[in-house]
């Protein structure tokens, strides 16, 4: 892999780059051995004595129906069944499995119109696989056999698979809280006129030399995280509700469970096990309410709930499918005069994070280019489909697919090089960022584009492919994007961190940040070790225990390193200062004169022969601080501990670009992705290999969204490809030659200058791939994913021939 760096020798947070001990190094991941050896304990690996097994009875007959009658008696009679649960046997409280409503302030959530309308078991089936009852048995087999014997009478309801269908005036209402099945539209109170943007858009179109418009569709894509959701819950003999789970957001789930079951948070303990991938699929609760309701029904006995992949597919959220209309106006010289857009999202059966997606889709739109005027409207309608929620990129890949294709269409009409256009018109430092509230703090997108273009040979290939013959046609495309590092101030980002120096001056860092495979515990540990001045092996992170860990909002919005990392850094700075203060006293000097070496000796910088070991200071603080005869203090008593509750001041968006080269077989419509080059302005690479891993993994999902991934439905709303046999993602051998370029341009706010890279990698491969296909075939595809079937059909319909 090629990696380019742009070093900037500047002081960041008082530490000069050349002094870094671990920042920027590819340290061994903290979790790699157990994951490779298979000893890591995932939620499904949790087995407790006397454990029972839960099963949710699901409706596979209808995608929309009312339960007229439910007879659980035959199920209850199955040997091994301990309890059967209908809707009335569990809490009747409504809830919202998403946690978005907790992430913004209460007034904001109210203004957005977030609702709670889900129930543990429903009598109004809203999607294929909705849960209607529960079985608790001594084995998974018995539970499944019992579930098959539940006798249900349904009243089938019309199935709505599009916003238009569910918005019809006579349509059955999904919830009385959202009339017209309009789950969400940008509220007037927050966004005047129910829209984002600026300027007189209509007027600007009148003055434009070129106006283009089209309507796109972006598919319902599944995260396909490796580990299906699994849980164990136990309502223990002391009246405490325990839940072992793998949510990305353990602290918010903790709060939601306590609220749902009306227990003090101290009486609910949440343990986050090793998490086998997130990508948004666990951003909030998935099956936590169900398993906890089951555990409460059988006090003293643990209940495990795990579902086969096909069931997990239906019950965990996916990306929102989106219908996305866009109209752009340009001046002859390429000046982007106007952008008008509307995305209408297929919400699925329940509201969840209904307010967020239609908003962020527009945020990414307004954050990218210096349009003279811009207007965006967004809404979501309930549909009889499995729920939609967070998925890596959160609306950004959708916008990228649409906006970047439209830009290329405009450039083609105006005969402007799409790379040069982007360099000229992308937003820069000082321009308003995606929320249109805070300015961009750093931007090295030009550098990304220059390095990426050089790496893939943009200029030569773009020119070469402009005129070609033969049935196989090549094309090269570019796409740019930016994302966010946490979502402050829209979302109230916060992370608490406690650092404890042990009696040997090793450090335990307590922080609830989630390691969901993205490597955050490795990079947070690097930040802690670097800041404390301790060897990496002396630092340990302790996370995932709701008793031990303080608040952290969770792994979302690419915020863990940026917000969590700063929290860790600040707590470690405090701990280091306390340690140095004691050393300064002993060495009769000031803190500023001290440094710490690799053997944990704190020494006076100007006279290194004056030193004291950090271990001695810590040991004396616990064991050796007073004269036992006189009681006189001999050292400084007390363990060194530091605590911060940190909220960021910004969201330092990373900028990035992707170049994709494809070869399209015009006789079969097959797309061979030959090469992909992504370059990211990441501020600082704390761990370059982890950054590259994020970019490559993101590219795999981005290419998948562009080329093949989509959940299918039949006319009855039944999902027809909820398995890895029928839903395909790119495998290792399908991936193109890839080059990752890390452009390091330290951000003034991020820890050590770092910005996010978690979600970003998925975004630009989407638009770049579509644009490469556009150059290769001369056709723009508005309906994602761009499958061989669609390509061949388009070639046929347009009567094109390639010889």
């Amino acid at each position: 892999m090629q990696r380019a760096r742009r070093w900037q020798w500047q002081r960041i947070e008082g530490i000069q780059m050349s002094e870094f001990k671990t920042i920027g190094k590819n340290e061994q991941r903290v979790d790699i051995r157990s994951k490779v050896l298979g000893t890591a304990v995932y939620a499904a690996d949790v087995n407790l004595p006397d454990m029972l097994h839960g099963k949710v009875v699901r409706c596979y007959e209808h995608a929309h129906a009312r339960v007229v009658s439910l007879d659980l008696s035959a199920a209850a009679a199955v040997p091994g069944v301990v309890k059967v649960l209908g809707p009335k046997d569990v809490t009747s409280k409504a809830f919202n499995k998403s946690v978005i409503d907790l992430m913004a302030s209460e007034s904001t959530a109210q203004m957005l119109g977030d609702i709670e309308e889900q129930h543990i078991f429903t009598d109004h089936v809203k999607f294929y696989g909705d849960g209607i009852a529960g079985i608790i048995a001594t084995s998974e087999e018995a539970a499944e056999q019992a579930a098959a014997l539940v006798a249900v009478e349904y009243e089938p309801l019309p199935v709505y698979l599009t916003p238009e269908a569910s918005a019809a005036p006579d349509a059955v209402q999904f919830t009385d809280q959202k009339p017209g099945n309009l789950a969400f539209s940008l509220p007037d109170g927050m966004f005047p006129g129910g829209q984002l943007g600026w300027g007189e858009v209509d007027q600007a179109f009148e003055g434009a030399d070129l106006v283009i418009e089209d309507t796109f569709y972006t598919p319902k894509q599944k995260q396909c995280q490796m580990e299906p959701n699994s849980y164990v819950a136990l309502y223990d003999d002391e009246g405490r509700l325990n839940c072992w789970m793998s949510s990305q957001m353990p602290k918010l789930v903790h709060e939601k469970l306590a609220r749902l079951f009306e227990m003090p948070m101290s009486q609910v303990k949440v343990t986050q096990t090793v998490v086998g991938g997130g990508f948004g699929a666990r951003l909030g609760m998935v099956m936590e309410p169900e398993v906890c309701a089951m555990a409460l029904a059988v006090p003293g006995r643990p209940v495990k709930l795990q579902q086969p992949r096909e069931e997990d597919w239906l019950t965990s959220p996916s990306r929102h499918p989106s219908r996305y209309w866009m109209k752009l106006g340009f001046k002859k010289d390429g000046t982007p005069a106007a952008c008008d857009a509307r995305s209408t999202n297929f919400k699925g059966g329940y509201y969840l994070d209904g307010s967020a997606l239609a908003s962020t889709t527009g945020f990414w739109l307004q954050g990218m280019y210096r349009f003279d005027t811009l207007r965006y409207k967004g809404d979501s309608y309930f549909t009889n489909q499995p729920v939609c929620g967070a998925f890596r990129g959160y609306g950004n890949p959708q916008t990228n697919f649409v906006l970047e294709q439209m830009i290329d269409r405009g450039c083609a009409e105006l005969n402007i090089d799409p790379l040069e256009w982007r360099k000229k018109w992308h937003k820069q430092v000082g321009d308003m960022s995606w929320l249109n509230a805070t300015p961009y703090t750093s931007c090295a997108l030009d550098e990304c584009l220059d390095q990426g273009a050089e790496a893939i040979g943009w200029a030569e290939k773009r020119a070469k492919y402009a005129s070609q013959t033969g049935t196989k046609r090549r094309g090269i495309g570019v796409s740019v994007g930016n994302h966010t590092s946490g979502a402050f101030p829209m979302i109230l980002e916060q992370t608490t961190c406690t650092v404890r120096l042990n009696e040997d001056a090793s450090a335990t860092v307590l922080v609830a940040c989630s390691e969901i495979g993205q490597g955050s515990h490795t990079t947070l540990r690097q930040i802690a070790a670097e800041t404390l001045g301790l060897p990496l092996d002396d630092v340990r992170l302790d996370a995932g225990d709701s008793d031990a860990n303080g608040f952290d909002i969770g792994a979302h919005a690419s915020r863990t390193l940026y917000v969590g990392g700063t929290a860790v850094m600040k707590a470690c700075e405090d701990a280091r200062e306390q340690l140095f203060a004691r050393a300064a006293k002993l060495l009769q000097t000031s803190i500023d004169e001290l440094d710490i070496d690799e053997n944990k000796q704190i020494f006076v910088k100007d006279s290194p022969d004056r030193f004291v070991s950090a271990a001695k200071i810590c040991r004396d603080g616990s064991f050796n601080f007073a004269n036992p005869q006189t009681g006189e203090l001999e050292g400084e008593p007390g363990q060194i501990q530091a605590y911060v509750s940190y909220k960021p001041d910004n969201n330092s968006p990373p900028f990035f670009s992707t170049f994709v080269e494809v070869e399209v077989d015009t006789e079969t419509g097959e797309v061979d992705v030959l090469e992909l080059v992504s370059s990211h302005d990441i501020g600082r690479a704390i761990h370059p290999a982890i950054c590259e891993g994020q970019m490559e993994g993101g590219a795999q999902q981005g290419l998948g969204m562009a080329l093949m991934e989509e959940i299918y439905f039949d006319d009855n709303g039944h999902v027809t490809n909820n398995s890895f046999t029928d839903y395909k993602m790119l495998g290792a051998s399908d991936m193109p030659k890839m080059t990752n370029i890390l452009v390091e341009n330290p951000d003034p706010y991020g820890p050590f200058g770092a910005k996010s890279v978690g979600e970003a990698g998925l975004v630009t491969p989407v638009g770049a791939t579509a644009n490469a296909i556009f150059q290769a075939t001369g056709i723009q595809f508005t309906q994602g994913p761009i499958t061989p079937e669609k390509i061949l059909q388009a070639i046929k319909e347009k009567g094109l021939s390639y010889t």
């Binding site: 087999e141 097959e670 093949m708 029928d726 395909k728 993602m729 061949l792 059909q793």
Partner: protein, 289 residues
Amino acid sequence: MSTRVLTDFDLVLPGSLSEALDILAQNGSAVTVVAGGTDILVAMKAGFKADMVMSLTALPDLDYLDYDASSGLRIGANASIAQVVDSADVERHYPALWQAAKIFATPQLRNTATVVGNLLRGSPAGDCCAAVAALGGSLTMASAGSTRELDIDDLWVAYGTTARADNELAVELKIPAPAAGRVSAFKRLTRVNEDLAKLNVAVSLQMDGSTCSDVRLAMGCVAPTMIRLPSAEAVLEGSELNSETLEKAAAAVQEDISPIDDQRSTAEYRRGVAGVYLKRAVEQACSIA
């Protein structure tokens, strides 16, 4: 939907061929025969129920793959796809079969799945099925007291259904030795590399200069079973192989196929690429020769 319930069944592991045939004679349709198990185990996870599963694992001497220049290729019922890939004889004399085996499923499945099992599964998408249908050959069907040779052309009778009688066991696949000038090839289209075919095609032709004869063309995923392409074969049979005849053959394929829409592709697309892929397979066969 997958099931966690594995229903009760008898697992029988015959130690000899005669024992296996006796079991089949006595239990007939109640027996599900398993060689590699890569299809049956997946089916059982999806709810397929078997009363009796007869595994061939303990049967001695059925994992052979032998080639003889005069009598041809013999593949035993327990021979894996990986053995085909490893065979230089198959690579040289039966390119269609070797090419199909080479990209068959995944390495793990190639190590476990058997060639004969792939044929007996009766799927219209089987990659080895296409190759063998084009190469021609026969299966030795043994039953207690008798043995018959079943021509590959007569094997598949309906979707997932073969001409195997309930008391029969397919013990060996025979493919005749190719005459000088015989060429063959296999090609397929998939969504991703490691996948079931959305269309596969295999061709085998006797070339005399540029004239072809004894043309055998097979295509999968375009009908309820793997099929031969009689109309396209008729175009090519005895004719000079050139771009014109190839185009005609490619056009004639439309008369032979009846594809449907499914999770992997559409009928329209399959119709759109069938001729193209047939042409490419013939070109590939001739370029190797």
